[in-house]
Symmetry: C2
Subunit: 118 residues, 2 copies
Amino acid sequence: MSFSEVLKELSEGVPGSRGAAVVGMDGIIVEEAAVEPGVDLQSVGAEYGNLLKGAQAASSSLAIGKTEEITISAERAWLVMRRINEDYFIALLLSPESNMGKGRFLLRMAADKLIKEF
Amino acid sequence: MSFSEVLKELSEGVPGSRGAAVVGMDGIIVEEAAVEPGVDLQSVGAEYGNLLKGAQAASSSLAIGKTEEITISAERAWLVMRRINEDYFIALLLSPESNMGKGRFLLRMAADKLIKEF
């Protein structure tokens, strides 16, 4: 299953999704699927890419293992990021009216599918 | 209700909790309640304090409002951080066997109580 198929299935599977992307730890997007027009996933990747890297450094320093997932709830958007491997993560951008639980569940499924592609 | 009472109620209310703390955005702990012996909340605050600050900067730059909450799932620990105001947040450290949903719910209640104390 290609990156774009996995991302499309993920972002269309969660009502209230704004888009999904495979992102490098440097914040640069490899592939994206925007559901809502006008959503700038490039900027989201650039702004939040460093955060997952910072969290990885923190969890490693605290000896609590790899950081697998981060969720961020802002007033007008939610973001769930899940580690694929050392270098890449998958991100799902949601509206605050959406179902974060379903988003997290489908994101985990999508990450499992993508791991096989790397 | 004092900081320590709120933190004690929070950390004892979630089975699998390791502790809770009120932390400054600089990562320095104001008050803490460790449930599990040997848990070093000071180090957790220091390692993750910057993350919430980074997320606030990102959400502000993307014009999606204030960052209200961050959850981090590492292999051997979960952390939920919730913004109290510009300068402080409340953090709850959980074991991966605990109930993150209940943790997030009680953390929100605790943050609402603490806002009145600042």
